[in-house]
Structure formats: structure tokens, C-alpha cells
Symmetry: C2
Subunit: 138 residues, 2 copies
């Protein structure tokens, strides 16, 4: 099982004032940072129908994460018992996909301004999904 | 931007009675299917601390999806206006990552029985994250 690997071709990139991990909050609502999602020209048709105020799930590739980490002390606090990364929201994990729930603040062609999002400038965007009521949380 | 691609190495595979897309519901709670998450031996240490009853987000690679689709009629209904895939939950999209919120029903070594999950048998597992209260939805 799991013999096959798959290739992610980013659909865009995060443009943010956050330029390094030391300044980045651990979760998106701990600072309420805004950022631009800059889509590639190829991916831009996938934005059709989006409107200001829409809620989205943004999936990113946390390119600065450590992929060989399987256990951590949650939130980097050694007082927290060691946990498997799949039981945490640590960014360090074998496939470091970030998950961010945001609202659309502004739309400018193939760019969306969104908040809150804690990803650093240059973080690749993997996917964007609508947030549906009720059913979306499944 | 987005010149670089990234490689997903699956951490495991879905084992389910659902064997083809024709039988699969569009969302996880439209059928309440159970499935086993079978982790690879390499990834299994990442499960440390998980317990029955925990809520998890399971990220899958929807290997049967069409990656060149950018616009769809939501839920395959031509009466729904054409939408960019990033404004939908369509499985067809450039990087077809599935997002499933599940509860842990049973733990057997490196296998977890979970529900509800609509992914078909053989779907690769990309990541597993804990669901935190409040903050988790960000």
C-alpha cells in the first residue's frame, strides 16, 4: 500500500507581511493577519463565482515544515505530553498541508485578499474549497 | 510564482466497502459509511495518543478525480450555474485533496476505524489532523 507518490502543482502563492515563522502565530486567529492569495493564470478560472464575504478553506503547502517529524510536544511546550503529529495541528508532519478558514475581503482579478491567515509570504497554495453550511464540516 | 512542485508520499490508504465512485455519496454524511484508515509502518508513530471518540480531519488524495477541471455545475446538476471549482466542494480540481471530518470508532495497531467517510477503497491518505474546539475551525 501507499507505493505511489503524487505531485502537487501549486495553484498560487500567499503574499503576506509575515515573512518568517518566528513572527507567525500558531493559529490563524491569533493575530488576524490579512494576506493576498495570488493565483496562477492557469488556475484563475477556478475562482468563477466567488464573492466578497464568502468563507473559504485554503489549503497550503507548509514548505518550511519538517517532514520527518512524527511526534511532538503540542504547541512546542515540553510540559505537554508527547503526541503523534496526526493527533495535533503541528505544521511538522510527513505531508505538511496547512488548513486555513478565511473570509474574502477583496477580489482583484486573480488575487483574493483574505483573513485571518497565518501563513508566511511565499507559501504555496494547494487548493481552495467553499465552506458550506452544516455539510461543510464533514 | 508557483514554479516548484511538491511530492506527496501517502501515509496510508482507505479500506472501505465503497469500491467505486458511482456508489459513493457526494459528502461524508450522506450515507454514514465506515472505513479503516490503514497507516504505513513508517507513519504509524504519528498516531501516538489517539483515542476512541476523538474527532479528526482526514486529508486524502482523490486519485480518481480529474485534475484539469476548473469549472463545474455544482453537484453535477446542469441547473446549477457554472462555478469555479475553488468555490465548490467538487472532487475535480487541480490538486484533488479530499477533506473528511470523522470520529474514531476503533483502534487496532496502525489501523483506525472511522466514520463518516465517503472515500472509495484504495484512496491514499495524505494527512490526519486533530479537531480542536473553537480554534480548530480556523
Amino acid at each position: 500500500m501507499a507505493e505511489t507518490s503524487y505531485t502537487i502543482e501549486p495553484i498560487g502563492v500567499i503574499r503576506s507581511e509575515l515573512t518568517n515563522l518566528a513572527n507567525a502565530p500558531l493559529q490563524g486567529d491569533e493575530g488576524n493577519y490579512e494576506a493576498w492569495l495570488e493565483l496562477t493564470p492557469q488556475a484563475a478560472p477556478g475562482l468563477l463565482g466567488l464573492r466578497i464575504g464568502d468563507d473559504l478553506l485554503v489549503l497550503t503547502w507548509l514548505h518550511l515544515a519538517e517532514r520527518d517529524t512524527l511526534q511532538v510536544h503540542p504547541r512546542g511546550n515540553p510540559d505537554n505530553p508527547l503526541m503523534g503529529v496526526f493527533n495535533t495541528r503541528s505544521q511538522d508532519r510527513p505531508n505538511p498541508i496547512g488548513l486555513h478558514r478565511v473570509s474574502v475581503l477583496q477580489i482583484d482579478g486573480q488575487r483574493l485578499k483574505v483573513a485571518p491567515i497565518e501563513a508566511v509570504d511565499g507559501t504555496p497554495i494547494v487548493d481552495i474549497k467553499s465552506v458550506l453550511t452544516e455539510i461543510s464540516e464533514r
